[in-house]
Amino acid sequence: MADLFSNLALGFGVAFSPINLLLCLIGALVGTLVGVLPGIGTIATVAMLLPITFGLPPVGALIMLAGIYYGAQYGGSTTSILVNIPGEATSVVTTLDGFQMAKQGRAGPALAIAAIGSFFAGCVATVLIAVLGAPLTKLALAFGPAEYFSLMVLGLIFAVVLAKGSVLKAIAMIVFGLLLSMVGSDIETGASRMAFNIPELADGLGFATVAMGVFGFAEIIRNLDAGAEMDRDLVQQKITGLMPTKKDLKDSFPAILRGTALGSILGILPGGGAVIASFAAYTLEKKIAKDPSRFGRGAIEGVAAPESANNAAAQTSFIPLLTLGIPPNAVMALMVGAMTIHGIVPGPQVMQKQPELVWGMIASMWIGNLMLIIINLPLVGIWVRLLRVPYRLMFPSIVIFCAIGIYSINNAPVDVVLAGAFGLLGYWLIKHDFEPAPLLLGMVLGPLMEENLRRALLISRGDWTVFLTRPLSAVLMATAAFLLVLALLPSLRKKRDEVFVESET
């Protein structure tokens, strides 16, 4: 316990330095700014803004990136409520009741509750990270290569089970991602693999390049398809009465609690993440409500629960990254990319060798959430005006911004071309109903999986049963197999589809 406080004190000491406070503020602001723009999801936002953190010291860069991440998350919910356009997948469910509230002239309370819920969830999640961080790190040290490999398999299976759409196609995308990660030099022998003597490929495909392609460029191209259909029926009336009433607070408080709890748990699970948390929280609220018919007609719980859940999950998903070095979702995968660029290898060692980095980031999350609530409520008017910028002007700007961003990572023009190619690939994937998120996750985990698989087999002298004979590894593998079977069972599939269909009605 004493450790916890001294750690947190260290963290706040780092985070409260003026420069880090400023970076946190800028991150949260810019994240919200980009998150508000429809058609740019969290992943694309983080990928796009990654280069602007390169010039910073590692702590500052990570603090800023974390700020961008939850800023984007919050920006997404603002647009969901005001204009019925979810900025990201995590806030799709928020549109259901949030936009209805806005139509009834209650946009103010909806936004306020979303912010309060997010802040509360953020506080809880921050404490949770601090509490769980150290013990999980100890656990991580007991992990050998076989356990790591099994854990990653489990994480990927989670990602598949919780993803939308066909299980088979999601697995195919993961394997495609694993295959893409093989491009470049072999870690052990240094042999060039599938690089076709292109010098820029010798180091492998960059995460940022691929992410910007399949999420950034592909989304732009797809939105252009929709073209003139993208009309935005804005809530035109002025937002008055920002503060929620006493009744609103009373109604939403239990929902916030439940959302936070659900989100925290789902966030820790590898592959889970914020999207499923918000869906699950909404479904739960609807199930236990006395009068479920209120949902979809402007029930404040329908805003409070999913918003708290997605924010809680967004933050607790840092736990596996910081303790085990395994990114549980695509955004965290980008964080790994950012850390690697700064020469940090995420994992248990970071927590011991660079405590100021880890705890500084954790403390800054709490500060960032506080900043979000303070800056965003007064700035809502500006965000709404931003939405009136027509897409015909916005998309070329995004293209150029992304292009400069990718170029500046390595000063390599080839990277820009590659990102463009991945943009076309992403467009094709969307057209064939393949989800790009598992692909990115597979790509990030690929080298880690290969390395641990090799080591595990080397240690066991080529015995493949090592994954089943070591108890911890066996448990992980069994859980993965169990989940996969569950996902393929027709009854659960139907339930799972229902959860996702709800969002589209």
Partner: protein
């Protein structure tokens, strides 16, 4: 991705026994990628003893992808599924051209020229573009990026064409 399964009556070029063309084509494409990867990694060393060679993992994943692609194809044949979506040409073409022009011109011509030109090319991607406002926004964006990246963020980007600087 709600707009993906377009239910518009597309002229089907698929044979009748393909019930889900979207999956059918998707699966075949994945198999093609897998075969390509198998070919590309065929010159790499395989297992020796019980330690992996450079080519073991790539071939393993490619083999897996081949199997999964085949499974997706089979699903496309057996179960009723979405038609092929229609592709637009204008957006993809001009966005790609814009990216290409950026990567070709950034080194020799510098950020200012390259960003502005690429902005204009990208703007061709939609018929809704109104040129006067696009030019104004393009200039503002170029100025903004020229200040943001090299100065505020300290990234080593060249601003002006090389032949002017020297």
């Amino acid at each position: 991705m709600s707009d993906t399964p377009s239910h518009a009556p597309v002229r089907s070029i698929m044979p009748k026994w393909v019930r889900g063309p979207q999956d059918f084509v998707g699966g075949i494409a994945l198999m093609a990628i897998a075969v390509f990867a198998l070919w590309a990694s065929s010159d790499l060393q395989g297992m020796h003893g019980f330690s992996f060679g450079a080519g073991t993992a790539p071939r393993m994943f490619a083999g897996l992808l081949l199997g999964l692609g085949f499974a997706v194809t089979v699903v496309g044949v057996v179960t009723e599924g979405a038609h092929l979506a229609t592709y637009a040409w204008r957006g993809p073409l001009f966005v790609s051209l814009s990216i290409l022009s950026f990567s070709l011109t950034i080194r020799p011509l510098g950020l200012v020229v390259s960003a502005f030109a690429s902005f204009m090319i990208a703007a061709l991607g939609t018929p809704e573009t109104r040129w006067r406002e696009t030019i104004i926004v393009g200039i503002c964006l170029t100025v903004g990026c020229s200040l943001l990246f090299p100065y505020a963020l300290g990234l080593p980007l060249q601003l002006f064409p090389r032949f002017l600087v020297q």
